[in-house]
């Protein structure tokens, strides 16, 4: 027990002070914040090129009012086109000349407007000009055809499909499941993804740790004092603690950095700033937020969070043990031995894809069966948790995951104790199979 603690501590301390680890831990949130700043800057990058557009409005469509916006300045002129074109040749007062004819037939669905320009107007500018004209024509037509605008608006109907759970109808209003399932998908994706990344990153770290000791030959000294099983377990726990430290740091730092970035750069994700985003009316926003909060409250956090942690532990132990076994079987030539990791990476990647499918159909038989299959369950089941899977499935899957993780750790320790002393050539999967049952 004492030795286990010593091994855990060594694994943790020597790794956490490595420059590469500190940089990765600190730079990831900073990099993310930087990315947000840059992405925001790129999106909100307006046209700093001021372009003046001369507008010949024959039909008085705009009634002399066309507000300037974002580098585009409109100027109404009375001159005929020809004289303007000649002027433009000399002093280039205007970047373009927009000729808006009269609307002859309000019932026509086509309206042709000409824009004369020697410069290339940006696509953005072109579409903004087109939108302006469309709006103006619409106004004009409403008036010309004598349509009541409210009548017109009432033609459009927002249909909201409210999905209610059969079992909880008695509870009344707050059981709108549609928001919950959307949130569930979001949370499920985040959890599945987190599992996927941590299995790979920290599993690989355990594998490198095993290989380092083996190629260094220090392992022979260490296992003359510590049982190989203790050493292996210590490594897995030590690296796991390190991973937890990193993830927790990120969980604190990333929102913190984003908050700071928001504070300094005044980035508020106001939807109206985004081009083409539908204007959202504040009341609708309000109800959206309320429904989100309701949905979040609806989720069974008391089950989701502990289960997630349990799956995280089970999945990590399972895969870290496998990676450790492979690391111990590798020869001194790392590159040649990488093929041994393929049998481990395949189930992880498969599980990831199944998880994506499970979010779409959380109760499909694929989702159910793969969340009971121990190699996939740690990634698939967390994604299903937000969709209220039957309790028995969660329990059975958890029990299977832990039994399997225990089995993997045991098996890995059998391979490990022989693998680490087997210098030189790389071992095959067949060798590793033999080692499991081999005597000490």
């Amino acid at each position: 027990m004492n030795n286990l603690w010593l091994v855990i501590r060594r694994e943790y301390i020597t790794r956490i002070r490595r420059r590469s680890f500190i940089l990765a831990t600190l730079l990831t949130p900073i990099g993310l914040a930087l990315f947000v700043v840059i992405a925001n800057a790129v999106f909100s990058y307006g046209n700093d090129d001021v372009q003046r557009i001369a507008v010949i409005d024959d039909g008085d469509l705009f009634a002399g009012a066309l507000p300037d916006e974002n580098g585009l300045y409109f100027h109404f002129v009375d001159q005929p086109l020809d004289s303007l074109r000649n002027d433009a040749g000399e002093d280039r007062d205007y970047a373009g000349i927009l000729v808006v004819p009269k609307v002859k037939n309000p019932r026509s669905r086509n309206f042709r407007v000409q824009l004369f320009s020697d410069e290339t107007l940006s696509i953005d500018a072109q579409s903004r000009i087109r939108n302006r004209i469309e709006d103006a024509v619409r106004e004009y037509k409403i008036e010309a055809l004598d349509i009541d605008e409210r009548t017109l608006a009432s033609l459009e109907t927002d249909v909201s499909l409210s999905v209610r759970s059969l079992t909880t109808t008695e509870e009344g209003e707050s059981d709108d499941r549609s928001m919950a399932s959307m949130l569930g998908a979001g949370i499920g994706t985040v959890m599945g993804f987190l599992m996927y990344i941590s299995v790979f990153v920290y599993g690989m770290m355990v594998m490198r740790s095993v290989m380092e000791e083996k190629t260094n030959r220090i392992v022979e000294v260490v296992i003359s004092s510590v049982r190989p099983f203790t050493l292996l377990l210590g490594k897995i726990i030590g690296v796991g603690a390190l991973g937890l430290t990193q993830v927790l740091t990120w969980m604190i730092m990333i929102p913190g950095m984003l908050f700071l970035v928001g504070l300094f750069f005044g980035l508020d994700a106001e939807p109206s700033q985004m081009p083409n985003s539908p204007d959202m009316d504040p009341a609708e926003m309000q109800s959206m937020i309320e429904r989100t909060i309701d949905g979040l409250n609806d989720l069974n956090w008391w089950i989701i969070i502990p289960c997630f942690i349990l799956y995280f532990l089970g999945g990590y132990f399972m895969y870290a043990a496998l990676f450790a076994a492979v690391g111990s079987a590798m020869g001194d030539d790392m590159g040649e031995s990488q093929t041994l990791t393929i049998p481990i990476t395949i189930p992880v990647i498969l599980a990831f894809y199944i998880m994506m499918a499970a979010i779409q159909n959380p109760n499909s038989s694929l989702a159910v069966w793969s969340s009971l299959f121990p190699l996939f369950a740690p990634i698939v089941m967390p994604a299903r948790l937000a969709f209220d899977p039957p309790l028995w499935q969660v329990l059975v899957s958890l029990v299977l995951v832990f039994l399997f993780a225990g089995l993997m750790v045991w098996m890995a320790s059998r391979i490990y104790r022989i693998g680490i002393l087997n210098y030189g050539k790389k071992s095959t999967l067949k060798d590793m199979g033999k080692w499991i049952t081999a005597k000490y």
């Binding site: 030795n3 060594r10 020597t14 022979e220 000294v221 003359s224 004092s225 005597k439």
Partner: protein, 314 residues
């Protein structure tokens, strides 16, 4: 209770195989307390397999091993210090931290380990390197650090596999002196090497292993005597009388000396009497015992002549 007169290590009929290959084949020997024992044998003879069983890294397929009279158990590794032939330390760890870690794994408490580690580093003039990473040290220094890690917990039994390889003569001597000092204080030493002159110089006992079998064991002195070929080296001045050559078989004659081969029933005194009678001007007369190197090569190749040739590396 530890019976101090029990053999520090007793190996009884130990066999160990890896798959088809028998690495150690019914080896038995007992190592007297406080001895220095040379474990000899060509490459691949099974020395490392045997050492791994003594250090409890692996377990024998059959047979048993006793440490100070008790069957080997989980406590005994803390009484053993093992310096494997394949050297290695954690490159990213600091020297001091590494010594503390390894000593604590051997059951020492951190404070005692630290003061002792500082003492030991001082002995090898490494006291300024406490806070240095191992990868910053020279190879020789790393080896000294590893030696310190091996002895820090004051083991009852030291197992050293080629301890001097790669060390310069000054540091090799320093390490040798420390080994002998520890031995004088009651530490038993198993010394695995191919360097016969070191064995002759340091070891009282040897065990010679070839292809998994224990083919020779005992006190170095007794073994050399056992392989005595009744040769004597005579140094002299003047001429050798021709009669000597008629009575005895002369080998390697030079202008000032000759090796004389005696028959099994002729004593050295008889030879001396003859020499005096022939009025040879004797300057020196000594028995020529075979060197361990000769015995090693002879025994290993003799055994091997029945099968594949053994590889002998020096």
């Amino acid at each position: 209770m530890i019976r101090t007169n029990a053999p520090v290590i007793e190996v009884q009929d130990v066999t160990k195989s890896y798959g088809e290959k028998v690495a150690v084949d019914s080896v038995s020997f007992a190592m007297p307390p406080d001895a220095i024992l040379g474990l000899l044998g060509p490459n691949g003879a099974g020395k490392t397999s045997l050492i791994r069983m003594i250090t409890t890294i692996t377990a024998p397929d059959s047979g048993s091993i006793f440490f100070q009279g008790q069957p080997l158990n989980g406590y005994h590794p803390t009484q053993i210090g093992y310096l494997p032939e394949e050297r290695g330390l954690y490159k990213q760890m600091y020297v001091g931290e590494q010594l503390l870690y390894l000593a604590q794994l051997k059951g020492m408490n951190a404070r005692a380990a630290e003061s002792r580690a500082r003492d030991w580093l001082g002995k090898f003039d490494l006291q300024d390197h406490w806070k240095k990473k191992v990868e910053e040290l020279s190879k020789g220094m790393q080896q000294q650090v590893q030696f310190i890690a091996t002895v820090l917990h004051e083991p009852k039994l030291l197992i050293l596999d080629e301890p001097f390889s790669g060390l310069d003569p000054v540091n090799a001597n320093r390490m040798r002196a420390e080994i002998l000092r520890m031995h004088a204080n009651g530490t038993a030493v198993i010394f695995s090497t191919h360097r016969m002159e070191q064995v002759e110089e340091l070891c009282e006992y040897i065990v010679l292993i070839d292809r998994g079998r224990n083919i020779l064991q005992g006190k170095v002195h007794d073994i050399r005597r056992q392989f005595n070929e009744h040769r004597y080296r005579l140094t002299y001045t003047g001429e050798l009388p021709a009669a000597l050559g008629e009575r005895y078989q002369l080998l390697n004659q030079t202008f000032s000396g000759v090796d004389i081969q005696l028959g099994p029933d002729v004593s050295s005194n008889e030879l001396l009497r003859d020499l005096l009678r022939m009025d040879v001007q004797i300057q020196g007369f000594q028995e020529l015992l075979p060197s361990l190197n000769e015995i090693f090569i002879k025994r290993v190749s003799k055994v091997s002549s029945t099968g594949q040739p053994a590889t002998i590396s020096r």
